[in-house]
């Protein structure tokens, strides 16, 4: 996870795979944060969750918002964008980590009244995501494609 209020900074997270990239931005104070989490729930590996809470949706997402608040961001103003959650092909439904990651996020957002403004999730593609702190623009890079705005 990275949070910044420095307008020269572009936060980047590479190669999301089934992981979720979550970008939040308050345009008034120009504070933004980018979280790259890989698994839905910290109870999968509580020991590792203690060492690195940003690995899991349920421990990482609250920390992202709280850190942004500390920089002066306000929840009601925050723009939320989501990317990643790609899937391995699987007819039997036993490699669902991408879907589970996304479902965990939806559940947390629903409980807390957070709306997603834009998203690019699922499929089989490996995405790279960046957040421009100056403008709040979120950009995605997919293999073989031009950079696109989210």
């Amino acid at each position: 996870m990275k949070v910044s209020n420095d307008s020269d900074v572009i936060l980047v997270t590479h190669a999301l795979g089934s992981c979720i990239g979550l970008a939040v931005y308050d345009p008034v104070v120009k504070v933004g944060g980018l979280l790259h989490y890989m698994l839905p729930e910290s109870r999968i590996n509580p020991k590792k969750a203690k060492e690195n809470p940003f690995m899991f949706a349920d421990t990482g997402i609250p920390l992202l918002f709280k850190t942004c608040y500390r920089y002066g961001a306000i929840k009601q103003r925050m723009i939320v964008k989501v990317a990643g959650g790609a899937q391995i092909m699987d007819e039997k439904g036993q490699f669902n980590i991408g879907q589970r990651n996304y479902a965990a996020l939806r559940k947390i957002f629903w409980k807390n009244g957070v709306l997603i403004q834009a998203e690019d999730v699922g499929g089989f593609v490996n995405r790279t995501m960046e957040l421009d702190i100056e403008t709040g623009e979120v950009r995605l890079k997919l293999p073989g494609q031009n950079i696109k705005k989210l």
């Binding site: 190669a15 890989m38 698994l39 690995m55 593609v125």
Partner: protein
Amino acid sequence: MKKIEKILDNIKRLPPFPLVALKIMHIAMDEEVSVQEIVEIIQYDPSITANVLRWCNSPYFGLRRKITSMKEALVYLGSKHLLEIVMLSSCAPYLEKSVAGYELAQGELWRHSVACAIMSQILAKKIKEDDAVVFTGGLLHDIGKIVLSEFVKDTFDKIIQLVKKGYDFLSAEKEIIGMDHAELGGRIGEKWGFPEEITKIITYHHQPEEINDVHVSLVHLADVGVLMLGIGAGADGLAYQGKKEAYELLGLRETDLMACMAELWVNLEKVENIVNFKGKNHGI
């Protein structure tokens, strides 16, 4: 020349795999292998010896003191790590290159391979399996991509059209080129004289259900886990099948895979240490 003939011709023209590394790979299949035996083989190859010393002093193996002789290396490392070092230093030159057909920049396939080797070990530990074979198999599973890359590059649009229709990338390679990277990797393993256990892993790493082999299933799950973490997933991305038969054979479930992925994630720094570690010459 037909595509298949051209591919087979490319395999023929590959330089041989380093002989000493090959010998080590074979004796590593024996669980009782001693450090002394390994040292006896590698001492006659100055470049591998030099590499072993360099790798011993790399951050990954994190020994507290500087190792200056093979004798010390053998005392401090033990046979397991010594084997890993020989494999890493012999495979690096093949896997470090960029693989344009899959849009993997230089070092990306190497990162994927190292992560898969370590992930295979983590999964092997979970089922209390010996891991000398899976480390090497995990490291080499995608070796076919180095040869298939140029053919994938030439036919990429056709392959991706099939993927859009619901094909997985492996079947699309087979359909368009006539051979997929797993089968081709197995052929390379045969040409290089790899132990059967290793070529088996390479050939079947996307189709563990066809062979019912513990090592193959471990590397399959490791590969899938590493792809889901986005590590070295190129233009083919995650467009491969996950096979439940691998779980069943190993007695594992998705939650176990997730726990192992978490374990790998906290070890990624070690992976990066290996990936970025540059020996001056690689012994070939």
